[in-house]
């Protein structure tokens, strides 16, 4: 099994390095093919490992070599394949295989074809390290590695200012969170003496709650950045500047879920601190609603999907925060399938529309792009949580979990009705914006003609590549039980019980009805001939709410005005005012004073003999007067002391 582990891990690296050799040369098709094959190898190995684990095999644990060792610190390159990581490995390798193959078609005409595959495979490698590591430091390697690859891929079209800006933003925002994560790591090390999961988890039980709380908070700050939780969420929407396969792989299926993975991986920690868990869940619920609301009015196809991703990540955090780790993981997996499919479908549309992103400029594309329409429609149904698609099972489980409340620790059943209500409402919104998008793109008038587009169906390879994802999005729900059985040991998962079967039915059916009615509402509103490209004149567009949502609650604006700009200005002040005018000027000033004193006092050397002689005599007189003063003081020292004491000195 170790061999498979290494193959699964290093095949993407090999692929990346291979492609990297050709970065400076013109497009070579074989880089894409080799890259895809190697990722596929990785997928196969992961599948073998999955089978092994499913059969009840012991987790595979290997230590490759020492990385850092100094003092008491010992960090190896160690990898573990257990129920959690194998799930993640499957998700990662599967989606990335699909994306790789899809990209061969999608990036066909791009100059940076080889470079793209180098970055993409490198990303997969980093992600594999992240999920397979057996310690926090290794996780951090992958953590930063995916950040790096994300930077490279968002800014892939580096000639575009917006792309490079978004890349930097993503990287820096992630760095902010990484600092939190790093501090979390330090806390873990200094309190448990190790960064290995095993050792640290065992030691957590002996620590006091406040320490654990701090660890939990700092680690979660790390997770917030990667998973783009409020207030570090702005980068995700901007990250859509990258090529669409990247958005599918990184910003939907894998990297952004790393935060969820971290929480799940540290479930032994978070089970001990349910109050932090509650906070996570609350934040998750908030983000779910918050992001969905922004998706309602947005006019950028990819951004809508990105907000949807954000919203779904909120769902996962609710589950993870409430202790339903397996549910979170399950939703993570299901979400990866349908969201990646959705993105890739959007990629097809972009291809067809010459990279146009505004769905209002499309419409009626279903005739031209039948397969894309079908696949995106199915994926949207899954996203909306319609039975029997994958989304139904996973999202429903989250809603139930929220309803039932935290049940891992303390055995106190707390119902979180507010969270539940928010999630339920968000589910409706999700259905609405998903089908608003579908309706705008594929139905209604063929508005694209006004803009002179000539859409066409995507290449076969691209369609074929999406197919497995769509299939999985449809059927993944069927594996719920298997999945539960597999991970329950690793995650202390428990079945939870809603009070009565009837409540469950009411809830389920209610949710379904709500979602379906929202879908219909979306169709009614957007599948008609009155839909036109908004020009900023309609009443809706001038309403406060619309503006608020359209401008993403003015948060990016706030960041730009009150963080980025002041930072630049303060930097400028630090340089021109503080560094040059104060610190450096002081140094030069001291030198200047010495030099200036020399320049001024050199008059003393007038060259006139009389003056020179006078100086000598003056020196003598000075010495003499000092002598006299001193001599008198010495002679009359008693009297002086007496006098001084009389004065009271």
């Amino acid at each position: 099994m170790e061999t498979y582990l290494y193959i699964a891990l290093f095949a993407p690296l090999v692929g990346s390095l291979f492609s990297a050799l050709f970065t400076a040369t013109p497009k070579k098709l074989f880089t894409g093919i080799v890259g895809s094959l190697l990722i596929f190898t990785s997928l196969v190995s992961s599948t073998i490992l999955l089978m092994y684990i499913l059969k009840g095999g012991e987790p595979v644990h290997v230590t490759m070599m020492t990385w850092m060792a100094t003092g008491d610190l010992y960090i190896p390159f160690g990898f573990v394949v257990d129920q959690i990581s194998v799930t993640m490995m499957m998700v990662v390798t599967l989606v990335s295989t699909v994306v790789h193959i899809y990209s061969i078609g999608y990036m066909d005409h791009d100059k940076g074809f080889n470079r793209f595959f180098a970055w993409l495979s490198a990303f997969v490698f980093s992600m594999m390290i992240l999920v397979m590591s057996d310690n926090y430091a290794g996780l951090f390697i992958g953590w930063e590695g995916v950040g790096l690859c994300s930077w490279g891929l968002i800014g892939f079209w580096y000639h575009k200012e917006s792309a490079t800006w978004a890349a930097s933003e993503a990287f820096i925002m992630n760095r902010i969170a990484d600092l939190g994560m790093l501090i979390g790591l330090f806390l873990v090390y200094w309190n448990t003496g190790t960064l290995q999961y095993d050792g640290a988890f065992a030691a957590f039980h002996t620590l006091d709650i406040s320490t654990l709380t701090w660890i939990g908070i700092f680690l979660f700050i790390g997770a917030m950045g990667k998973s783009a939780q409020f207030p570090l969420h702005t980068w995700l929407a901007d990250a859509m500047e990258g090529p669409t396969p990247v958005s599918a792989l990184i910003h939907a299926a894998t990297m952004v879920t790393a935060g969820v993975y971290l929480v799940i991986r540290s479930h032994e920690l978070y089970s001990l601190i349910p109050h932090v868990g509650l906070f996570i869940a609350s934040l998750g619920a908030f983000v779910a609603l918050f992001a969905a609301s922004m998706a309602l009015v947005n006019r950028d196809m990819k951004r809508i999907i990105a907000y949807s991703t954000l919203s779904q990540l909120g769902y996962m955090f609710v589950a993870a925060g409430l202790g339903a780790y397996w549910v979170a993981l399950f939703h993570l997996m299901a979400h990866a399938f349908f969201k990646a499919a959705l993105f890739l479908g959007a990629g097809n549309v972009m291809h067809a529309m010459d990279d146009e992103l505004d769905p209002f400029k499309m419409g009626g594309l279903r005739k031209k792009m039948k397969w894309t329409w079908i696949m995106m429609g199915l994926a949207s149904l899954a996203l909306s949580g319609i039975f029997p698609f994958a989304g139904f099972f996973s999202k429903d489980a989250i809603l139930e979990a929220a309803f039932v409340g935290n049940h891992t620790a303390l055995h106190v059943m707390e119902h979180h009705y507010i969270i539940y209500a928010v999630l339920l409402f968000t589910a409706g919104l999700t259905a609405f914006y998903s089908f608003r998008l579908v309706a705008l793109i594929f139905h209604g008038e063929e508005r694209f003609k006004l803009f002179g587009f000539h859409p066409h169906e995507a290449a076969k390879i691209m369609l074929l590549a999406i197919a497995p994802l769509v299939i999985l999005a449809i059927i993944a729900g069927a594996f719920q039980t298997t999945f539960f059985e597999m991970v329950q040991e690793a995650l202390n998962a428990v079945e939870y019980h809603v009070h009565s079967q009837i409540v469950v039915w009411i809830m389920t059916i209610g949710t379904q009805v709500f979602a379906i009615s929202m879908i219909i509402f979306a169709y009614v509103k957007y599948n008609n001939s009155r839909v036109s490209v908004p020009d900023g004149t309609s009443r809706l567009e001038n309403s406060f709410i619309y503006k608020l949502l359209f401008n993403q609650y003015y948060i990016p604006h706030f960041y730009a005005e009150y963080i980025v700009k002041p930072y630049r200005e303060i930097s400028e002040i630090f340089w021109t005012k503080v560094d040059l005018k104060i610190v450096d000027a002081t140094v030069d000033g001291i030198a200047g004073i010495i030099y200036g004193t020399g320049e001024k006092t050199r008059q003393m050397q007038s060259g006139n003999l009389s003056t020179m002689l006078t100086w000598m005599v003056a020196g003598l007189v000075g010495l003499l007067s000092l002598a006299v003063v001193f001599g008198l003081t010495a002679r009359y020292s008693d009297e002086i002391l007496l006098f001084l004491s009389a004065l009271g000195v």
């Binding site: 060259g607 006139n608 005599v617």
Partner: protein
């Protein structure tokens, strides 16, 4: 009033002070040299008086050496003065300031 050592010493000091003032005030090189001679001679007076006071010859010896040195100083000084005068036609002190700073 008997003239005692103190008086000699006071005289010497006064002479010395006169010499110092002369050294500072004189702008003529020759007069400047005179002033330095006054300085040395002031010392000579004192040495002689002290020597007598102690009944010790050393002071007078010193005085003799001072005289000898003063003489040689004059010799060297006048030599320099003459050369300077030959070159510049003046023995004014203020002309003697090409180097400064």
């Amino acid at each position: 009033m008997e003239i005692g050592l103190t008086h000699y010493l006071v005289l010497s000091t006064i002479l010395f002070a006169i010499g110092l003032v002369g050294v500072m005030r004189r702008k003529n090189l020759l007069l400047l040299f005179f002033a330095t001679e006054i300085l040395l001679n002031a010392v000579n007076v004192a040495f002689a008086a002290i020597s007598h006071y102690y009944g010790d010859m050393t002071g007078q010896m010193f005085a003799f050496f001072v005289i000898a040195i003063a003489a040689s100083e004059v010799a060297v000084g006048l030599g320099l003065l003459i050369v300077w005068y030959k070159r510049h036609g003046s023995i004014d002190l203020d002309a003697l300031a090409t180097m400064k700073g």
